[in-house]
């Protein structure tokens, strides 16, 4: 095994491979930071350009892109509340309030270090898991995937402390929106009102750009001033203190990385679930859950660690089964096929050195991008001092054009605008946007897996109690639902939290 790992490192440590890795990292940082673009767009644009490269160099370039996108996404999520890609939306929840308090440097420093450490932990986990990957992925069938989606929603709803009812309402509203479009199990078009654009459902990335970036711009426009409330503090906040915070909260980093690794290994679940699940579980585990959403540094560390760890483990279903872990991986599969590598079990045998080279490229890029992020954190944090009257039209214009660029569909612009107004209403009336995002991501998959489970069990719901992983997931749900009452009971009895 060791000689394969070293073979991957050796292949990567060539001048040409390092050059393309660095180039990929810069492209990934840039694409990650622009709302609506992200890793999938970058890879889609680069794939045809790699035709003339050998497969190892092409994988170094792709690894560079994929490893750096999360850091780029964190920069725009923290500074502008505009997630560069969907998983970074979780970073907005506490990263942007920190920027508003003039602590953008702290948040960016913590995000960069959590990114790097998460990536390394993810790599170590993948190197350990890869030999047994096949057995792990096969444990998850439709019943497990359905329960996993329900578990995700419960985790997030119970994390909305003090506003559980509104959290649940936002969640079920998100589910209703996720039902719009063509249902792939029944073949029925639902709730489209005759609008062809809605046949594919409400597109996720334009909706997220609206809910976060545009809603924040409306809010800023009404409030006036700049993002950072106190200009004096922006220059003082140290980036290195963000780095230290990450080490201080090592449990959060470890938990986030492990969540990212596990979720990333499950096909079709994706980074958004990993980052939000990590965030929610950190809120659950915290002694001070009320501080989340108001600028708690752990709210930045948890999703960032999960996102980068997920990037590595996403390779498991993609390479081992040819089942992409997300959109980015689907595009990446195209690049593999272009270079004569057919994803599937045989790939784990025929292209082992390339696979390990890719894993190292991804890790190297994520660590290098984090260093670069740390270097530019301080100058970038000055962006939060720009007056809203200048910032609002500029960011709104880039956000709406970016949402069009996702799949060159002008309908995306209208979706972004509608979700922008909806997001502002949710901010004003104190409805958590977190549960809505998770419902939008999981809704269609939850319904599909529910139908598949019903079909495979002839409508017998006891199937959920006959499978080991299902029982573990059900126990997790029960524990999460009981935990708040237990905490309340301890509070009532005057016991420590």
């Amino acid at each position: 095994m060791l000689h394969l790992w070293l073979g991957g490192v050796e292949g990567l440590l060539q001048a040409r491979e390092l050059l393309f890795l660095g180039l990929g990292m810069l492209i990934g940082l840039f694409f990650g930071a622009i709302p609506g673009l992200g890793g999938a767009t970058a890879l889609a644009l680069l794939t045809p350009l790699t035709y003339g490269l050998d497969s190892f160099t092409a994988l170094a370039l792709a690894g560079g892109v994929m490893g750096a996108v999360p850091m780029g996404g964190s920069i725009s999520a923290i500074l502008l509340n505009a997630p560069g890609s969907a998983p970074s939306a979780a970073t907005c929840l506490d990263g942007h309030p920190l920027a508003q308090q003039g602590k953008a440097g702290l948040a960016l420093g913590a995000a960069a270090s959590a990114n790097a450490i998460g990536g390394i932990i993810g790599t170590v986990s993948v190197l350990a898991i890869l030999p047994i990957a096949k057995d792990l992925v096969l444990l998850f069938g439709p019943p497990e995937l359905f329960l996993l989606a329900v578990l995700g929603l419960i985790v997030v709803s119970t994390a909305s402390r003090g506003k559980m009812l509104r959290g649940l309402i936002a969640g079920v509203f998100g589910l209703m929106i996720s039902f719009i479009g063509y249902n792939d199990v029944t073949g029925v078009l639902r709730f489209t009102a005759g609008i062809a654009y809605l046949w594919d459902g409400v597109h996720l990335v334009p909706a997220l750009i609206g809910l976060f970036a545009v809603a924040e711009m409306i809010n800023l426009s009404v409030k006036g001033g700049a993002i950072a409330k106190d200009a004096k503090t922006v220059g003082i906040t140290s980036v290195t203190s963000g780095l230290l915070e990450t080490f201080r909260h090592w449990r959060t980093v470890l938990r986030g990385s492990l969540i990212g690794t596990v979720v990333g290994a499950i096909p079709g679940v994706g980074g958004t679930v990993a980052s939000f699940l990590s965030y929610s579980l950190t809120v659950q585990a915290s002694a001070d859950p009320e501080s989340f959403g108001k600028g708690n540094i752990q709210g930045v560390i948890a999703p960032e660690a999960a996102i980068n760890a997920k990037d590595c483990s996403c390779l498991i279903p993609t390479l081992a089964f040819g089942v992409p872990g997300g959109v980015e991986m689907a595009v990446f599969m195209g690049l593999l096929v272009l270079h004569g590598m057919q994803p599937g079990p045989l790939m784990l045998i025929d292209h082992q050195v390339e696979i390990y080279g890719l894993i190292w490229a991804l890790t190297g890029s994520c660590v290098l991008a984090s260093f670069l992020g740390l270097l530019v954190a301080r100058p970038l944090s000055l962006l939060t001092l720009i007056d809203s009257q200048i910032l609002v039209p500029v960011v709104t214009a880039v956000a709406l054009v970016g949402s069009y660029a996702v799949d060159r569909n002008i309908g995306n612009v209208l979706v972004t605008a509608i979700f922008g107004i909806l997001g502002y209403v949710m901010i004003r009336f104190d409805y958590p946007r977190l549960t809505m995002v998770v419902a939008l991501v999981l809704g269609a998959a939850a319904e599909r897996n529910f139908h598949q489970t019903t079909m495979m069990s002839d409508g017998n719901l006891s199937v959920y109690f006959h499978r080991k992983v299902c029982l573990v997931l059900l126990a997790g749900m029960a524990a999460l639902l009981i935990a708040p009452f237990f905490r309340g009971f301890r509070k009532f009895r005057g016991l420590p939290k």
Partner: protein, 151 residues
């Protein structure tokens, strides 16, 4: 005003439910279940906003941490939403390359009260940046607008 979000969602859910019952049983099973749950939750939300004993009980158990919105002039909020709506619609009608400079310029001039020269150079910079990134680097065709689209 405090009932507006919950009441709007109740209306939306009722329409959603009415549409759902028009689909075959398997296709509507999950959406109908979710919609009924929504109606129950929205009813609880409405009750929690009433100044009654039941309202106080629901609020204290399920929504204790929610805060009333800070007072803001309605005109300013509608104005901000209207600027966004007009921008989005104009993008659809006359395309990206005409709308972006117009919107940035108008927004800076009429909402930001900036000087003509500042508005002009920022509008030119933003449009140039968008054109360079999307049209040149990414080779994306910038949407020409409904009126200018070749049919």
């Amino acid at each position: 005003m405090k009932y507006l979000p919950a009441a709007s969602l109740a209306v939306f859910t009722a329409i959603f439910l009415a549409m759902a019952y028009g689909y075959p049983s398997q296709a509507r099973a999950f959406p109908v279940a979710v919609a009924w749950v929504t109606l129950v939750l929205v009813t609880l939300d409405i009750v929690s906003r009433t100044e009654t004993k039941a309202g106080a009980a629901v609020l204290s158990r399920l929504n204790p941490g929610t805060a009333a919105p800070d007072p803001r002039p309605l005109g300013g909020q509608f104005g901000a939403a209207a600027w966004l709506a007009v921008f989005a619609l104009t993008l659809v009608l006359i395309g990206i390359l005409y709308t972006v400079p117009l919107y940035v310029f108008a927004s800076l001039r009429f909402r930001g009260s900036r000087s003509w020269s500042t508005c002009l150079w920022i509008a030119a910079l933003v449009t140039g940046g968008i054109w360079l990134l999307f049209a040149i680097v990414l080779r994306l065709e910038l949407y020409p607008g409904y009126f200018f689209e070749s049919r």
